[in-house]
Symmetry: C2
């Protein structure tokens, strides 16, 4: 027997319709690529999205066709989010930081038929346009005044002209909520990148869960500035959450340096932001160097990789900005866990609270998780025993695009490739990527803890810990360090810095000082490259243990 409630599909267009009806005059503010600060409202954004949907249809975009974007966080990019998915096509956000060849490979694999891109990326697109043979239309996301006089790109279209050419007499179509809405590729440090194809259902459910008080806790009274790019797993869902809640949105466009960000935080009275640790490093450095503060910011959500404890303390103690650790993946839309306190933890001492906040947190409702040993047996939630983290839920990948890489699931669970432990209260902490774990004499050493300790040393700007081959223990940890400009520290002093902070046998065997650590397109350290470069270091350098 079925229930007798209305059958209404969960569609992404519902979010925009809700924002237009219930938060029509709420502002969306963008630092555009043209350099100006542009102000619009949900009402205008909804009208323009409908006109854009009509324009795309006129360009021949049909149900299930893929529209690619190479764009910063802007109101225009948000219009594309809704116009493309809302009309039944698939939004494919490309990461402009990828190597041009990889970009072309991904655009071809995804079968992008239209490519919309910001002014910033005109040279990039001009360089590769000839290789993008499946793309039928190139759209430059600007107005006529900023269009190039001539371009190597044939029939380059102007975004604003497309919108001006249409009225907004368009009604969002109603269709099955399981239809594809959007597409992101994993960064793919090994093998080809793989596409994760989200559905309308998975996106709306993720939006509900991510906005909850124990997740990102977004109400209509927030002013949200997503630093995390809209080409990086839908800016962690914030462009959807904002419409659901009617929060004011502030888009930084291409201005991701500390100065540009801080100016926007202050001028637009931003209350909450989200991004990866590397961006916050730049912001904190700018704030510190100029004796600034945050007058309205109350929270920042940090994910992508673990937040160094020193950064967490700086935000909370110097600037009264609460840090919320979160964990997710492209394959999870992306949110899996957020670190919010349970009631019993509210009475903890300051240090006990930091110990909780260092973890990636509790599963948001909809996601279930477990850690398993190498035989796939579930491990105890004791806060110590690490194993591979597996997850499941209605916004977790079931299959990669075109079946790439075969069935990714194990008994209905998605193996994340992260190594973690879970404590009795359900707080999960990532100790490593499975491929970054250091296997020393059959025991596992997590590299993240070792890196965090090094990062807490005043002379260290960046630190990576990788497995190096060892004649006796198979692998031992090797610390690779970039010093802060002008700062000095010796190998011996750094190794001594570990004393009392960690089990003695976890201490790295050696330290290598380098000028820079290679970063990938999403800002993460490319530890596979370091491993390749330094794998024989301990064999050559006479190990200390």
């Amino acid at each position: 027997m079925n229930g007798q409630m209305m059958q209404q599909p969960l569609l992404i267009s519902m979010l925009l319709v809700h924002a237009e009806r219930h938060h029509a005059e709420q502002e969306i503010v963008t630092r555009r690529c043209e350099g100006d600060i542009h102000r619009t409202t949900y009402k205008q954004l909804a009208q323009r999205s409908r006109r854009l949907a009509k324009a795309l249809a006129q360009l021949g975009v049909q149900d299930g066709d893929v529209v690619g974007t190479l764009a910063w966080n802007t109101d225009r990019h948000m219009e594309l989010y809704y116009a493309v998915s809302g009309s039944g096509a698939v939004l494919h956000t490309l990461n402009p930081r990828l190597h041009p060849e990889q970009l072309c490979w991904i655009a071809a694999h995804a079968e992008d038929q239209v490519l919309c891109f910001d002014l910033t990326f005109l040279p990039l697109v001009e360089a590769v346009a000839a290789k993008l043979t499946k793309v039928k239309h190139f759209v430059l996301m600007t107005d006529r005044a900023h269009m190039p006089k001539e371009s190597k790109i044939p029939d380059l279209l102007c975004y604003e002209e497309l919108i001006e050419g249409q009225d907004d007499g368009f009604i969002w179509p109603r269709f099955d909520e399981n239809r594809a809405s959007s597409l992101c590729y994993t960064s793919g440090t090994t093998g080809n990148p793989k596409g994760v194809l989200y559905s309308h259902r998975s996106t709306v459910l993720h939006t509900y869960a991510a906005a909850l008080p124990d997740a990102l806790n977004c109400s209509a009274r927030e002013v949200i500035l997503p630093v995390v790019p809209m080409f990086h797993v839908n800016a962690w869902g914030l462009p959807y959450i904002a419409c659901m809640t009617g929060a004011k949105l502030v888009f930084p466009g291409p201005g991701l340096d500390g100065k540009s960000l801080h100016e926007l935080f202050e001028s637009e009275r931003v209350t909450v932001s989200a991004g990866v640790p590397t961006v916050w490093q730049g912001l904190l450095a700018h704030v510190e160097a100029n004796g600034l503060s945050f007058s309205t910011m109350r929270r920042t959500i940090i994910g992508g990789s673990a937040c160094p404890p020193a950064m967490m303390r700086a935000f909370q103690e110097k600037y009264a900005v609460e840090v919320l650790h979160a964990w997710g993946m492209t394959e999870l839309s992306p949110l899996g866990t957020v670190c919010t306190f349970k009631p019993s933890q509210l009475d903890y001492s300051k240090e006990e609270r930091y110990a909780v906040q260092a973890k990636q947190g509790r599963a948001i409702f909809g996601i279930d998780m477990k850690v398993v040993d190498e035989e796939g047996k579930e491990l105890a939630w004791d806060g110590k025993t690490s194993g591979e983290l597996l997850v499941r839920g209605p916004w977790v990948v079931g299959d990669y695009l075109k079946g790439e890489g075969g069935n990714p699931l194990v008994d209905g669970w998605f193996p994340t490739g992260d190594v973690a432990h879970i404590d009795a209260a359900g707080f999960m902490q990532i100790t490593d990527r499975a491929k970054d774990v250091i296997k020393s004499g059959g025991e596992w050493i997590g590299s993240i803890d070792l890196e965090n300790i090094a990062m807490a040393h005043p002379a260290v700007a960046m630190a990576a810990c990788v497995a190096a081959r060892h004649p006796k223990w198979d692998e031992r940890p090797l610390l690779i360090v970039v010093k802060k400009p002008g700062a000095e520290v010796t190998r011996e002093a750094l190794l001594q810095f570990y004393e009392g902070k960690i089990a003695k046998w976890w201490t790295p065997d050696d330290v290598v000082f380098v000028d820079a650590i290679p970063l990938g397109a999403t800002g993460k350290m490319q530890k596979n490259k370091l491993r390749e470069q330094f794998q024989d270091h301990l064999l050559q350098a006479a190990p200390s243990a």
Copy 2:
């Protein structure tokens, strides 16, 4: 093209599984019918629910079978919520305040096969058991020690024995999320009550939306005491929300008087509660009479009918308990709107804020609403123009059980029978029930405003305003008043009390003082009875206008 995310149905059992895994040790505290304060945890509740599910299966309860309850808010009732729906049967919560004949009619119409009931209702069930011919098993929700020595009910089963007889080796089945989960009947002041059959999908989506920061705003750090009965539209969803968020739950059992409630609020450190205005009246009277306060309560959600302004001020100004106005219906699972501030309203003066709080609030995400005129044309959102309120969304009724009353929808919208206006910011205010509106010379007069003004008079305990027939204007408002014990006020003084508070022609034509106003089973004033009794009052009494 479909998305490629996991296909996972939204099932009510997910909520309990989540609570058990992620909030195992969180407490659920009940003032039981046996008189004791009983403490349990989500872990124990989940184990007992599985055992109960096995016991129900052994009693022959199959997929889609209906299990009725006549019970207060207790942990056992919550076990039934999950055991029945979770195992694929349908939970039917009966309202014990209904007339016994109506109860029997509803139980027969719903085809209840098992009836579980609290000790309080043993006499009631004994009186009607012979008429409940479709019920195969009667279960008294208590332990062996409290079972009656003998009973007129044949083969009366003991709830605790059913649970003790099973192990918890039971796995919640997985099935289509559109399957029926639970059933509530509308109070049906006119015609037969009608059944609203919720689905797993509608319930889980409602739970997500109702927990959001701009709705009931429930985190793991709340201590929730639902005063609103679990036999009254699922206690507004709180037993589901609590599992989703891991909040501590406090159940008042049969103790709904001011003293019992206040004791629990204080001893269990309750932070948020929810109920209809009549209950809060009793609570406030007790607190006031005994010079008490609320040391942990921060918010109370008031719905069911409009919160009298005087009550709102008392809660907020004397006791620092924020009042959240909400609106819903059995047909909406029940939540439609909640009155939380928009950012622009935070700077309002105190009186401007009260004017906002008097409204029922903004639609929670998932619900769309509109007001229409008598031809069904949508009216402007101007905060003045009233019309019938229509809603739609994935937790709104599509059809009543067994098609009772025909198709309730108009072009896909559900007409609520409420009369309301919506302002430019999207805040809806109920001005009347459609059937209670007073039609004076072709213009509509809302009865709720008139009642609120009378209620603000210090001598008035309760007030109803109904349409009375009038020779010139067709209908005119007639005020019916119950005075506070020992208080005095004249007809003239009351009518004068309206001056300056409302358009002159809205002032009631006359006042009738009565000893009591009849209340229905859900605590609402039965204005249809008053209308019948007093419809000719103005024709007989020489009207003043």
